[in-house]
Amino acid sequence: MTTTLPAYDEVVARYEPVIGLETHVELGTNTKMFCGCPTDFGGAPNTRVCPVCLGLPGSLPVANRAAVEATIRIGLALNCSIAQWCRFARKNYYYPDMPKNYQISQYDEPLCVDGYLDVEVNGEPVRISIERVHMEEDTGKTLHVGGATGRIHGATESLVDYNRAGIPLVEIVTKPIPGAGAMAPEVARAYVTELRDVLRSLGVSDVRMEEGSLRCDVNTSLNLPGEQWGTRTETKNVNSLRSVERAVRSEIIRQASVLTAGGRITQETRHFHEDTGDTTSGRSKETATDYRYFPEPDLVPVAPDPTWVAELKAALPELPRVHRRRLQQEWGLSDLDMQSILNAGAVELIEATIAAGATPTAARKWWLGELSRRANETGVELADIGATPKQVAELQGLVDAGKLTDKLARTVLEHVVAGEGSPAKIMADRKLEVVSDTGALTAAVDEAISANPAIADKVRGGKVAAAGALVGAVMKTTRGQADAKTVRELILERLGVQG
């Protein structure tokens, strides 16, 4: 089957997209949501379990205070109201990786409601309304063995690992976001980026999308201008910031092609595929599952003391937006310069590089220049490029000390990115240091003079510009590791000419 998909620009000229985001965050608490089992990533299957997170008969949950605290702090950072009294609820459905066949979550009484998060898209402020922030427990993981695809079809057996069961999760749900128009994919990405930065600044999660500690579901619908919102789909398996943007874009195009052909959108879950950038149909939600929610009778209500909430609010760290404004001032950057740093996702990297001793100008030069270029070429996030802020600061230090020229420094950086170690070590191992040993350099200069007597005479005769040829010869014998300016001065000195 070959269908030609419509062009994005045409689609968004005709339809208005409405998006919404549900984000799950694994909290970085030491223990699970309702028991004392450790939460660290990894570990042999089913070793971080107890009667409670295995849902054994008779076991009972007890809410983790640290998780409640982290959720309240997230709610406060997102400008939410914090409920004075709320309850957990049971979400009932059968699945083998869910030990009790119900998930303890929150339903009509979430801990935090009605907030917002301000983000910037291409320098324009956009306010994203937050509907709710609530607590729940994660499920285990099912592994299907024996099939070709690792999926349940064709598998000969299924294995379940309950280490993840009961890890505290926070779900952050936006209100529907209309009016973004063609910018909807960028708005989605900007929101998740900003949310990630907020969560990181709060220190409540390591927010790593690849490891699944930050998971994003994207709701998308299209409507014609002036008409009601369309039927929405929910796209899962969106595992990077780039994918958030791509998933929205591809779903907008797909829905438009269905609608334009006179079809209708099915309310369903769709899966995003990183490799193709497409979404495919998951399970239909048209026959809605009845989760039979009811208040969790095993847990007492959560009633955070208002004084405690006020203390948590007062102790919130500087949030990323405020922090960035302060940095921009400290670094003396224009809005445009700051924006390019933001777009490159380089704020924290540059900040850390400065903290390691580099000047703002130098730090910005490396991250936005050479390193951004390489990141784009190889398609990785700047933060995962392989060079650390400390290494970049060290590299700049070597330039400042005259041990590396700019050109040599770029060569060293290439090896840093390849994982060969610190700049100083690479410089030494690969003998890339500027030749500053005057003895060796003088010998090279003398050699060049005696090998080119005619040019030397011209220079002696006052044609100083002719010295360039001698400089070139010296640079050739020192394989570019000498500083051209120093070489030139030395030549003139040896020939007794004033520079």
Binding site: G55, G58, R90, Y94, Y102, R292, F294, P297, D298, V300
Partner: protein, 491 residues
């Protein structure tokens, strides 16, 4: 020397403490009694002979070493098979858990061990504590020692029958709608439902989380109080556990035993003192009210107008919670698994397991509860029942403004013949008519023998405000001192 099985727990603890009997002798006497009579009574699903003798030897050696012993050290206890016991079978009366040996002890059992009591074994019950006769046990009914052709009540019929048969001086039950008090009443023993949250539910296989309350069973009020003290109190593993010490129930039982109730105001629940109970039960109850008056209590009538809605509200709330609580029995991680022959889907294996593993009463309640929680029906059923629950609690608090405690018959009828009520679930549900309100409210209730009707025991229920468990112990002990004891015919 008198047979050691005829002593109360308090007396046995004294014998062991003074070295007049060893814990091993006490334990062996009860194990022998179980061997002699339990094939006819069937109070036990599992007798842990080795574990019991080990625990008894431990008490004896600690005593020999001069270590201090608790007030119940060396006293045997039987535990309803709904509480987890590490390495010892825990079935909840269900085929679906027939071979399950839990990897952990419930808090109650942990505290029993810490107190130096000797666990004899696990007692029979209606499957998942759903029933009023133990006839819904997947392992066959328990018989009432007063008349082996009759039921011993339920769901904790095993724990109460074991007391009446002198197989144990103490036992543990769990009371969701009357499962401790009603068996106590029909076996002529004492049964206590403590304040909800006063005893830990950790390790209690859940039926209805907001109602389930483990509690003590004994032949005397003082013994029940001693056991209550040993198992009660705050447990950080149960979120709904009340962070307060156990009311001084032992002192209250001792005070009551003096037989003086001067200054105590008791309320007869008008709605439970007329129709709905057998004439013999009502006659015994009225006689007990007279006795209480003679002991100095002031008895007045109070109205609790919403109690009449307790039974229907209960039969929405309890099944709703159980439909969710029992979802975990799916054959994936523990217990029975049926149909896993490589040809069936996961969903088919789960279904086949539950179809084969659950009995008819459990299925009935799971279906009722699933329906009541369904979207579109939630407000009309579960939501409405929760409102009724609030009104019933209000009836209690209003009544307790006027009186110290409420009294009623424990159950409308004496022990009925095996098979008499299994055909009609509603007739079975009526057994808990008078006990359910306390569960919906969360307050404590005790059943104490108050007389006989046609040669079968009748129980009087005393209900107190939440965390005022001591009040009902005082009243029950006073009545006990005036009317007891009631001893069943020899088996």
């Amino acid at each position: 020397m008198t047979d050691l099985t005829s002593f109360s727990a308090a007396e046995l603890a004294g014998l062991v403490a003074r070295g007049e009997s060893s814990a091993v002798e006490v334990t062996q006497a009860h194990l022998d009694r179980i061997s002699a009579v339990d094939d006819r009574v069937h109070a036990f699903l599992h007798v842990d002979t080795e574990g019991a003798l080990d625990a008894a030897r431990d008490v004896d050696s600690r005593r020999a070493a001069g270590e201090p012993l608790g007030p119940l050290a060396g006293v045997p206890v039987a535990v309803k098979d709904v509480l987890t016991t590490k390495g010892v079978p825990t079935t909840a009366g269900s085929k679906i858990l027939a071979d399950w040996r839990p990897p952990y002890d419930s808090t109650i059992v942990r505290r029993l061990r810490a107190a130096g009591t000797v666990m004899l074994g696990k007692t029979n019950m209606d499957e998942f504590a759903m029933g009023s006769s133990t006839e819904y046990s997947a392992f066959g009914p328990t018989h009432n020692p007063w008349d082996l052709s009759r039921i011993p009540g339920g769901s904790g019929g095993g724990s109460s029958a074991a007391l009446a048969a002198y197989e144990t001086p103490l036992s543990i039950g769990s009371d969701t709608g009357g499962s401790i008090r009603q068996p106590g009443a029909v076996t002529g023993t004492v049964g206590v439902k403590p304040t909800y949250g006063g005893t830990s539910r950790y390790g209690l296989v859940a039926f209805s989380s907001s109602l389930d309350t483990p509690g003590p069973c004994a032949r005397t009020v003082l013994d029940a109080a001693l056991l209550h003290e040993a198992i009660g109190g705050h447990d950080p593993l149960d979120s709904t556990s009340i962070p307060a010490p156990v009311p001084d129930v032992v002192a209250a039982a001792r005070l009551g035993a003096s037989g003086d109730l001067t200054g105590v105001r008791l309320g007869v629940v008008r709605e439970f003192a007329g129709e709905g109970a057998e004439p013999g039960v009502l006659a015994a109850f009225r006689a007990a009210v007279e006795t209480l008056t003679k002991l100095g209590a002031e008895v007045v009538e109070v109205s609790c107008p919403h109690f009449q809605y307790a039974l229907p509200a209960y039969y929405l709330i309890a099944p709703s919670e159980c439909s969710s609580n029992l979802a975990r029995f799916d054959g994936v991680r523990f217990g029975l698994r049926v149909g896993d022959d490589g040809t069936r889907s996961l969903e088919e294996v789960m279904s086949a397991t539950r179809e084969a593993g659950f009995g008819p009463e459990v299925k009935r309640r799971v279906m009722l509860g699933t329906y009541a929680l369904s979207s579109g029906y939630y407000d009309a059923y579960y939501g409405q029942a929760q409102k009724v629950r609030t009104l019933i609690s209000r009836d209690f608090t209003t009544a307790f403004d006027q009186v110290d405690a409420l009294i009623s018959p424990t159950t409308p009828f004496v022990a009925f013949p095996v098979g008499a009520r299994t055909a009609d679930p509603y007739q079975m549900y009526l057994a808990d008519l008078f006990t359910i309100p306390s569960n919906l409210y969360g307050g404590p209730g005790i059943s104490v023998p108050c007389g006989l009707a046609d040669g079968l025991p009748v129980g009087l229920q005393v209900m107190a405000p939440t965390m005022a468990d001591d009040r009902m112990y005082r009243v029950a002990a006073a009545l006990e001192s005036a009317v007891g004891p009631f001893t069943p015919p020899a088996l």
